[in-house]
Amino acid sequence: MFYRENGQFKTSYRADQQIFPIAQDRWAVLAMLAFGFIAVPFLFDEYMFRAILIPFVILALAALGVNILVGYCGQISLGSGAFMAVGAYAAYNTYVRIDGMPLIVALLAGGVFATLVGVFFGIPSLRVKGLYLAVATLAAQFFCDWAFLRIAWFTNNSTSGSVSVSNLKVFGWAIDSPIQKYLFCLTFLVVFGLMAKNLVRSAVGREWMAIRDMDVAAAVIGIRPMYAKLTAFAVSSFIVGVAGGLWGFVHLGSWEPAAFSVDRSFQLLFMVIIGGMGSIMGSFFGAAFIVVLPIFLNQFLPAVGDLIGVPISTAFVSHAELMIFGALIVWFLIVEPHGLARLWSIGKQKLRLWPFPH
């Protein structure tokens, strides 16, 4: 009733091949974009931006990258944190060592170096599959942790191994305030989101999915596994690398290798699994779940405690947060193994049929 495509006829190939063929979807997405760019800056306070929205936007971008590799091409990777680190440190070196380097170019250069490293560590995927590949990509994680801790050149010989950037500018426009930072990251997210969405609908995207569903059959019908797998690694690590650069430059401002530890890799993989593998939308849901929920619980529990007059200690809140978070992950995976994105599409389906479900 609310959501019906009756009467929407596609009269040209162009109309048939749109990203959102249904008018309601198009309007909803445009409204969301307008909300993100125009309404959000007026609605929230500084804390919301710095602690929730900016990390959410950046990690959603990283999850998008991981989803291309894990969700669309079926290559389980535990090296995403490492590719983020490569992106961040390569962008840092480009930015600091070359005078007058524009910020966006530095971030994209970070992505390019992440691509190179990603493709290199993707080579084992031609021989090893599934869980074995996950273990092989773990090598990327350990190698990068080691390299950025030990090789002083990467950190511009800083004694502590911690690097920092400041005075970010784009076309003479300083990126200082949380709103500017948010809009800067959101622009990246929208551009890459659009590119990723189009990529997965294209020939190469279908090759990835064919490889994911059954690589022997895909090879038989003429898809080159090497090309498909390595392009997936390349695209994924490029996006993850740019997200890493944003995480270091825009969110943290000063970082150490621990910011991109193996925990980050797991976090990104969980985002994809919980959000929904093989779904662009799922990356956003997963990032929101992993970023926002712990912080929400951390603030919500003491508030509940105050309400019923029981003061809750910070240590207890912290433990309870982990327990509830863990329980929710298990619950979601049992109720909807295909992730939050599946719930979203079920919801859409229900809206279509309402109020006369058959």
Binding site: T159, S160, G161, N167, S254, E256, A258, Q299, T314, A315
Partner: protein, 438 residues
């Protein structure tokens, strides 16, 4: 009509009282680490900090201004620390000062505090070069930093050998937390190694440090003459146990400020006998006046934050000292900006920069024998470089050295060079004399 007036009057009274209470509270946020890999050590710190703040209120506040504390749990993770900072900085009329108790969080916040105009006290940790107030306007590594600790350890080793020149040809191992926290110690040791002709054997230990077998096998192989530990949390206790396992004498092991407290060694007990650590200013001070006062005015009333038996322990005292410095800076700022008023972060910063805690003031506050005078200035944000060494006797710490002062002649140029490098990277200019008055 009458009822309406009463209602109005009471509303105004309540609002007025509310505004009054609001205006008379100085907010000190706490970034606690009650969970995670450093929980055994960071918990007493937070308890000591909060207890001292309660004591300040029991004594009548800071010239009548009550202290207010709110905690946020970081679990020693940098991203959570940044989130907590953002959450707390604007609460209760604005944060006075942050004490992150983590070098990683300090690095991240150093970039943020100048914009928010909130000072950062990192006594004994954080960036060593932030002692240079000319570049780091908002950072205060009060009463010492890693380079002071490192220099004092070497001095103590030199004294034991009978002179610094006896260090020549010796081999000194450094077991350090493999993070900015651990690495910050290395520059001073390298500088001194070049000066006195001893060799360094750097041994990084991956966080959280419960697995150190390979490090200590290396120690057994290389047999360094001394071991210096820059470890934190569960890492220290594990290191001492592993040293025991490979038979490395604990008498030759020296911890820095963060590697020598009761929670680290209690489980090892007699096995850790002989292990020493640097204490900047205080150690375990169960006999001090301030501890007695806390027991009497806070714990006896059932308002203690943590268990009673940890009151006066090493890390508890560190929390007390942290709170003392935070409060005294505000008191100093009140001298200039108005007694009995709530200070903003910016005003409190002036207080930390012009801190002058004389022995008489410290004695009056109950810190007799706990710490020595501290005085800061526009270009010296550290205030004092004195430390002592204490040694574990199997069940508690006892002092094993006199007061030692780190060599400012060596440290000052290093601090300045490092701060200049930071300023050049960030394109900052040094503060002028005029800026010091602001």
């Amino acid at each position: 009509m009458k009822i309406r007036n009463i209602v109005l009057a009471s509303v105004i009274a309540v609002a007025g009282a509310g505004a009054f209470a609001q205006a008379k509270e100085q907010f000190f946020p706490v970034l606690s680490g009650r969970t995670g890999p450093v929980a055994p050590n960071a918990t007493p710190w937070a308890n000591g900090h909060n207890d001292y703040m309660k004591l300040v209120n029991a004594r009548g506040g800071i010239n009548g201004v009550k202290t207010l504390v709110e905690e946020c749990e970081t679990a020693y993770a940098t991203d959570r620390g940044v989130e907590c900072y953002e959450r707390l900085k604007g609460k209760h009329g604005g944060a006075t000062v942050f004490q992150p108790l983590s070098t990683g969080i300090t690095f991240a916040l150093t970039e943020k505090v100048p914009g928010d105009k909130i000072p950062l006290i990192t006594s004994g940790y954080g960036r060593s070069d932030s002692a240079d107030g000319g570049v780091f306007k908002w950072n205060f590594p009060l009463i010492g930093h890693y380079w002071v600790a490192g220099d004092v350890v070497l001095k103590h080793i030199g004294n034991k050998l009978g002179g610094m020149d006896k260090l020549k040809g010796k081999k000194i191992g450094v077991g350090y937390h493999d993070s900015p926290f651990g690495k910050e110690l290395l520059p001073i040791l390298q500088e001194r190694a070049a000066q006195y002709g001893f060799t360094l054997l750097p041994l990084p230990i991956a966080a959280p440090g419960v697995e150190q077998k390979s490090t200590w096998l290396q120690v057994r192989q290389q047999q360094p003459d001394f071991m210096i530990l820059q470890t934190w949390g569960v890492m220290t206790g594990t290191a001492v146990k592993e040293a025991q396992a490979v038979g490395y004498p604990r008498e030759k092991m020296f911890g820095t400020w963060w590697s020598g407290a009761e929670p680290d060694l209690q489980d090892v007990g007699a096995g850790a006998k002989g292990y020493s650590a640097v204490m900047m200013q205080h150690g375990a001070e169960r006999q001090s006046d301030v501890v007695k006062e806390i027991l009497e005015k806070v714990h006896a009333k059932g308002e203690g934050t943590g268990p009673k038996d940890e009151v006066g322990s090493v890390l508890y005292m560190r929390g007390v000292l942290g709170a003392l410095l935070a409060v005294e800076g505000v008191r100093a700022a009140q001298e200039r900006f108005g007694k009995g008023k709530v200070m903003t972060g910016e005003q409190a910063r002036w207080g930390y920069e012009n801190l002058n805690l004389t022995q008489a003031k410290l004695d009056a506050l109950g810190f007799k024998g706990v710490m020595r005078p501290v005085s800061t200035s526009c270009f010296d944000h550290m205030g004092a470089a004195w430390a002592r060494i204490h040694t574990w006797d199997g069940s508690k710490f006892v002092w094993s050295s006199d007061w030692l002062e780190a060599d400012e002649q060596v440290i000052k140029p290093m601090v300045k060079a490092s701060a200049d490098k930071y300023a050049a990277e960030k394109k900052l200019t040094r503060r002028s004399g005029a800026d010091c008055q602001s």
